[in-house]
């Protein structure tokens, strides 16, 4: 059994470390690093954020910023052409060697 938590923000990737237990709220299996303790038993960072009394750590902070970007800008399904009118094709001025 491996950890089913997805890490990363821009390039989400499965953690895949050996699972030590599971989230008592959503059931996914978790490694030590992605287990957050709190009043309802061990939880994944997502469940820890949506339930009271869980400790905050790097993983829960990352998860809450990830969900705020998702809420603000949408996830994979927002690939529409709705904003196409604000898009124009042109050369980038001052695009220097540093950037490539």
């Amino acid at each position: 059994m491996t950890c089913q938590w997805q890490t990363g923000l821009l390039v989400p990737q499965p953690c895949e470390a050996p699972a030590m237990g599971g989230c008592s709220l959503c059931g996914r299996s978790l490694c030590m690093m992605h287990t957050v303790s709190g009043p309802n038993g061990p939880a994944c960072p997502n469940c820890a954020n949506s339930n009271q009394g869980y400790e905050q750590n790097e993983e829960t902070e990352l998860e809450s910023s990830r969900s705020s970007y998702y809420t603000q800008y949408g996830g994979a399904q927002y690939f529409t052409n709705r904003d196409r009118q604000s898009v124009e094709r042109e050369e980038v001025e001052g695009y220097d060697e540093f950037e490539t």
Binding site: G8, L10, S65, F98
Partner: protein, 290 residues
């Protein structure tokens, strides 16, 4: 945290007011942490020295006032010592305060960098480094453009100065081979307006506005067909696709404006603002890349 408590690398960056070169995430985060702590100590020192200047002004006034009385009472030596001492003390206080102010670092810029990299650290290619070219010296006199005279508009005169500060260039490589760059250019616009006072004489007022332009780009490892357009704010943002070395590079610009009632605005876009831009550029990747 004083300059001597910093690691050699952080000390060098604090003295140069700049961060340059290739960095591992861990070392870069450590550096920012140290610079933020150093800046907090500097802010406290500047506040203390400013209070000292205020006290020195009062003492100098007293020195002049009492000194003249004492001189009048035929104690010329004591009187002039009081008079001169108060003024010299004031000059020393002002010099020390200005010296500390010059070494100050822009805490909002440091906080942005720290937050940005903490949020994307898991996405970085562990084998690649972060390329950094950051100037922390702020809108110094050297960055000020020529004085420009504006239409008077009822004033005696109106002059504008523009400080151009392209202070931030970052390049990072993601795990999936895509490269991201982020650039920030600040413009501090200073407006000096002089009007005639009712009882004669002139009065000059200075107003400031800060304009920040954040530019984020995503460079694919190989030619790609971008999957679609992310959400773009038509007022403050612009998304473009540019051809660069045979690759379609997506570029997202965002503008920020800050005003302050008194003095220069010191606000800066947050790390979340920057990550939000990178996040949207990354969402343009075709499905197989994600």
């Amino acid at each position: 945290m004083k300059l001597n408590d910093l690691s050699p690398v952080a000390r060098q960056a604090a003295e140069a007011q700049a961060i340059r070169g290739e960095w591992e995430y861990g070392a870069f985060d450590q550096l920012l942490k140290q610079l933020i702590a150093y800046d907090a100590a500097m802010d406290a020192l500047i506040a203390f020295r400013l209070k000292w200047v205020v006290v020195a002004v009062i003492l100098a006034f007293l020195g002049v006032f009492v000194g003249i009385i004492v001189i009048d009472n035929d104690e010329a030596a004591t009187g002039s010592a009081m008079l001169v001492g108060g003024i010299v003390h004031l000059i020393v206080a002002i010099v020390l305060w200005r010296k500390a102010k010059k070494k100050n670092l822009p805490e909002n810029a440091l906080a942005m960098l720290q937050q940005l990299f903490r949020q994307v650290r898991k996405d970085l290619d562990p084998k690649a480094t972060i390329r950094v070219n950051v100037d922390l010296s702020g809108p110094t006199q050297a960055k000020c453009g020529p004085k420009k005279e504006l239409p008077a508009n009822g004033f005696v005169s109106r002059y504008q100065y523009v400080y151009a500060d392209p202070w931030c260039q970052l390049r990072l490589q993601l795990r999936d081979g895509y490269k991201l760059t982020l650039r920030q250019v600040d413009q501090l616009i200073e407006l000096q307006r002089t009007k005639r006072k009712a009882r004669g004489g002139y009065k000059t007022k200075t107003k400031y506005k800060k304009l920040c332009r954040l530019t984020a780009t995503i460079v694919p490892p190989t030619p790609v067909e971008w999957a679609g357009q992310p959400k773009v704010d038509p007022t403050w943002e612009r998304l473009r696709v540019a051809k660069k070395k045979g690759l379609d590079v997506a570029v997202l610009d965002r503008w920020f404006v800050y005003k302050e009632k008194f003095g220069r605005p010191i606000q800066n876009p947050s790390g979340a603002d920057a990550v939000g831009m990178l996040y949207r550029l990354c969402s343009m990747r075709p499905a197989e890349a994600k």
